[in-house]
Symmetry: C2
Subunit: 893 residues, 2 copies
Amino acid sequence: MNQIVFPFGGAAPSTSPAATDPAVVGGKGAGLAAMAAIGLPVPPGFTIASSTCATFLADSAFPETLRHDVTSGLAFIEEVAGKIFGNKDNPLLLSVRSGARASMPGMMDSVLNLGLNDATVLGLAESSGDPRFAWDSYRRFIQIYGDVVLGIDRGLFEEALEIAKEDNGFVADVDMGSQDWQALVGEYKRIVEEESDQSFPQDVHEQLWGAIGAVCHSWNSDRALTFRRLNAIPAEWGTAITVQAMVFGNRGPDSATGVAFTRDPKSGEKALFGEFLANAQGEDVVSGMRTPSYLSQAARERSGAREASLEEAMPEAFAELQRLAGVIEAHFRDMQDIEFTVEQGRLWLLQARSGKRGVKAALRIAVDMVDEGLIDEREAICRIDPMALDQLLHPTLDPEAPRDVLARGLPASPGAATGRIVLDSEEAERRSELGEAVILVRSETSPEDIAGMHAARGILTARGGMTSHAAVVARGMGRVCVSGASALVIDLARRVARIGTRELPEGTIITLDGTRGEVIAGAVPTIEPELVGDFATVMAWADRHRRMAVRVNAETPEDCRTARQFGAEGVGLCRTEHMFFDHARIAIVRRMILAEDPRQRRAALDLLLPQQREDFRGIFEAMAGLPVTIRLLDPPLQEFLPRGEADFSELSDAIGVGIDRLKRRASELRENNPILGHRGCRLGISFPEIYEMQARAVLEAGCAIAAAGGEPAVPELLIPFISGAREVTLLRERIERVAQEVFAESGRSIPYSVGAMIELPRAVLEAGAIAGEAGFITFGTNDLTQTTLGIARDDSARFLGRYVEQGIYRLDPFVTIDQAGVGELVRLAVERACAVKPGMLLGVCGEHGGDPASIGFFEELGLDYVSASPYRIPIARLAAAQASINLVSSRLG
Amino acid sequence: MNQIVFPFGGAAPSTSPAATDPAVVGGKGAGLAAMAAIGLPVPPGFTIASSTCATFLADSAFPETLRHDVTSGLAFIEEVAGKIFGNKDNPLLLSVRSGARASMPGMMDSVLNLGLNDATVLGLAESSGDPRFAWDSYRRFIQIYGDVVLGIDRGLFEEALEIAKEDNGFVADVDMGSQDWQALVGEYKRIVEEESDQSFPQDVHEQLWGAIGAVCHSWNSDRALTFRRLNAIPAEWGTAITVQAMVFGNRGPDSATGVAFTRDPKSGEKALFGEFLANAQGEDVVSGMRTPSYLSQAARERSGAREASLEEAMPEAFAELQRLAGVIEAHFRDMQDIEFTVEQGRLWLLQARSGKRGVKAALRIAVDMVDEGLIDEREAICRIDPMALDQLLHPTLDPEAPRDVLARGLPASPGAATGRIVLDSEEAERRSELGEAVILVRSETSPEDIAGMHAARGILTARGGMTSHAAVVARGMGRVCVSGASALVIDLARRVARIGTRELPEGTIITLDGTRGEVIAGAVPTIEPELVGDFATVMAWADRHRRMAVRVNAETPEDCRTARQFGAEGVGLCRTEHMFFDHARIAIVRRMILAEDPRQRRAALDLLLPQQREDFRGIFEAMAGLPVTIRLLDPPLQEFLPRGEADFSELSDAIGVGIDRLKRRASELRENNPILGHRGCRLGISFPEIYEMQARAVLEAGCAIAAAGGEPAVPELLIPFISGAREVTLLRERIERVAQEVFAESGRSIPYSVGAMIELPRAVLEAGAIAGEAGFITFGTNDLTQTTLGIARDDSARFLGRYVEQGIYRLDPFVTIDQAGVGELVRLAVERACAVKPGMLLGVCGEHGGDPASIGFFEELGLDYVSASPYRIPIARLAAAQASINLVSSRLG
């Protein structure tokens, strides 16, 4: 029988490896156990394994042994804490908190101050000598329990508190005295009775099991589901549950609660960074309801704030925090995000986890830690989220450009974003789906805003600090964020944001500078990023440690040049059809398509030839010396057809064929399922003259560069959409004939090869025979996903979201390769191809070539390269390095 | 080095197995070698292997050793025949004939009388003592060589002959004397020189190699390509070439040539059957230019013909032919089609092959031969072409119905067909594609008419006998044919067929009775076939020898009853969507589809429930006691959408929702690639209430029958278009909940199961996990073919024909399963499913379930059943028996 309850703190039994394994006890449980094990001040507690939650959600029942294990765990806490759960004289209070394997800040529920009832509240008042604290804690407990466990609208409790304050003429919570809280407890209990048809539970064990069940269920709350979908967290993980003795930051002026980062999460600077609130409980900091103070005097002074820093207010606690931060970072060998509480001068640590950080900070921290000897290059490489690099690759605001600064706030998540103001999440999603760039502007954000934050380019809030919900989530998502812009007032009724006297109706364009914390009117000119410093250092390490080459999917010399700057080592996919949509050319293309015999078609192709040759010449010059994979025409011809009357009459005039005849021919070409239609090499088989023209253009371009003394790229002609070896043979032979002609005409030859694109299941099965006929193979995983799963990507939105939510697919298979299906086919094709032609060139050119998770899989298969869009090249380089490192260590381990 | 030239006849070296293997030397070469080996009178010759032709067509060059082998072969023939090739005193003449592995009558070319030139013709005249014969043979040779080898329009030669006859005032060829033929030879040589810019070749070796090359090339003639496509003959086989000493049926009144069947190819009766022409060469019989006479006196008398039969004209030759026919049939253990020539009283055999026969004859011959002890049941079963049974299963003309007989001809291919007159093949194809039934009416048919004959229901000719091109091809294709209806005159200019004084414009409906040889005005009432006699005997044998069960694809009680009569053992696929298209129901269905929330959808489904229940009740009663697989709703919902304005306004009135809103919702549902769209179990996941309704209808119907004391069918609910195991789990659990409800409500339960339809490559890969969740698995090979090959069937005509012609696919993958691709996936799925759940029920319900070649493959995989459309049931039963027998013998052998 596996252990499912893991105690920690005090004289806890020596920890098993499972006790500090986030896969077993979640991130929070693992961090607490690890800190306790090295003697740090952690209140005693125990963690229930996340597998238990998963079982509970599946079977609607806890394992039979759990009740016994929890009882033992409680006894352990009681012994260490010297208090007794439910005892009216010396009551033990507990927190019940969630903690998944991956951090999901604010997505699930917690219950604090558990163990209070009408009897123990008196005991707590007595033992603490602080009745106000006791009654405040009790009303907090009823409120959170009512919300989380009993499902009562928390607004009812907040309203009751507001009324109580108004009735008493109070402004803030601190004005409330012991009697006031006690009265409010009565009111809260009335609300519970009215809303849930039961009185507030007085049995502390009933409280505990209710909380455990509710925290389990919060794994499947709407916001947790959304977060998991956005972050590719599998549903089957479940959340662990940590039950821990309460410590109190609200025990008076010598108490406090706060959050500390061991390094600055925006810049990466090595200095304690964070915020605290005096005389408060942790939820007060995170919720952003009160604006917290700085930890260090230096930070306070730098920002010009007046409230005393922790360093000034509680110098001993601050010194101890600074010392322990160093110990913790050295232990975990990474920048840590620490929750702490000072209870009557004594420092307690309530959580430590790897701190979220912006990508610039991540790069700096990684490079610094290598310099400090804390980690090696490999570990540094693996510390950077490849997708986060995206933020560095795009233009930033031009520092020389004039700025009409509307307001200042906190620089909560760096970068710059321009977009139209939207005032709620629904509007953010709606406009973003229409292709508009939007900035989500809110008083403060809550977990319900998660989808809108994802849809927005940037987030602006009127309230909340650097560790408020908006700030933490925005940094995690790589969204620009300015928080706490206190001049901002939002009028939802009139759909207007107001800053001072300026009114900004929803839809107004603004720019956020998340690095400086500025809100700027209109759009601001941008400058290209410089790929230097820590970025360049880490990328150089990555190149040293990766095995796979990284190529680019590109069709223009401009994209090729950008991609070379980003480190592309060739073109993995040049989609020639993109060259055909050019307005000057489409009429010739249509003439070719609508030709009724090969002679007419050839005449149109003769007009296209010199233009295609110039296309390739530009690309081959840009990619001098590197391989360039040219995919021959692939899409169904109908994609090029005239669409409206104007198109038809223009074409009719241009080529002198009647409109009716053109329309008839066009309708003959239309297909009901073009993805499965007359496309790819089927066009090459049906209309050989098209591929002949393209092969001629490619080879003539190469010869022309060579003739002019230049070094051309090495063309690799790619035959798309093959279903078997014979298509490759027939078309390769045709291309070889064209090559012989071109080389004879130009009096010189250049190296080239002809390869096959595997994107159909049948081609996978025939991969051995195909390898025998092809110079190289590249996997078109987009189409392979469409055919293997039977899903047309562009129409898949109708059901794919639901499929991922219900766990039918773990992830969106068009973003990350479906390993169980599509991935297995790629593996099979690789095996069969290599059996026939060991060491042949194998690559991937679908969208998955730029997806880090998929890149890891391609490394396992031993592919030679991945190909990705230009701005994904650094991401792919880093991901490829991580994949190599992980594969090596998994093989060693 | 493999042997590529195989001599036969006379004292030929003892034959290797290859010499009588049709796969090596073609059907003709194998038959000649086999006959020669048992001492029958076969002129000496040799056969060049078909692989040589395939090599030649691929490389444009013969193997190096061939020239030497042919020289040896010639020497052998010269020795046996006692004549010398090219010798002017005693010249050897040769025939050069094609012969593929499968019979392709008239599809390829032959060259006869080869070896004649200006010198040898004199020697032949001298040695034969018959100058007329010598000059006639020479002009025949120039004509056929000019046509086949030099590519000269044969009409030019025929025209020259007509002019010569006219100039001399002759009526028939027999009027031409030696001088006349000699003069015509001069004219023919002039035509050759004018058309080919070269004089007619006088070097006999040049003649021989020219003929061998041309016969090779005729493998790829248009008509051969068409025939191969229609008969699924692979391009890579190639044709063998037989070079043989000529014997002459045109050596005077004691010479003849003819064709004999060892049994009657229409009725199967055991009696020598056939035709001959006195003083003629073989081509005269086959071409249908002269109307031949009967072989036996009895046949002549029965038909009322006056020309003497062979039995009467040459009694000794007839007796010898009859004796040898018995020897040949006993040797080959099948009914034979024999070509013979009588040269000056001496009988020679020029070909023996299994005779084509109508399906009734095939059944009778098979049953008779078992009775005669010639073959056993297994062999008898394997002798019947399953597809040919189709002719017996359809209605025939009511013998009691009045008939307006327009004309009588020969009963060339049995059965009855009604359709509109078409006068050429193009028109036959055009109208048939529009869905019209057509009768092709021609003076006579030629190989160029093959596509038109295939498109027609029946063929009517004015000329030609029972072994004319029209008759042979029609019997092979299973088309009704009346040949030699001499009262028929065709006026192509006016597009009218005339019979006596009656004019029948193209498009007029007529009926052919191919069994009686009648042409009838208008349509004639039909009666259902009686499945008794030889048919029933053979089917009973088949049932005894097959392993796989045969089910039907059916959606109505009527189809179920028909299928049970045909021997169906259950329903393998009941497509519930077919029930939704009913006019009375479509409005409710549309209401369901266009519902904007589950409540509206459920309201519409509540209306459908009682109707679906009645659908299933009818089917379950018809299939009492048998399994019935009900596929839950599968197609994209858009298939049910209103299409025109009328549909929309009708629906709008019916359900009180505005037209604009309906149109908006309809356009939301439209997909660009519906095959890969929101369909199958994706509907079940998105709109659970649809499958719940269907499951309820199924189970309530079963319970209702049981409650009424009846025996219901055993429902198997089939979940379509699954891509993985989790879909099965989710939907099965939902169905099980419905079942519990229904059983609780009705107070009884019935057995049922829930299974998975594997029709996506991903489901194949997950077949193991799916097997764990499903009660049974059935393969939807239509969709599996579409996704594996990336081809939408309904649009595939654009390129699929070309793909088959070029050998990219061997066969149309939608007719016969693509073993290398789709077949391998089915095999993989079977392996994975059986590894998890050995012995689980596995079936096939795609169109391939009724295709004999595919059925053979499914037998190899060990599937439990195939499912086919009602009229394919007997075909599937027979094919399944053949598959079992072949598998057993291949495992033994």
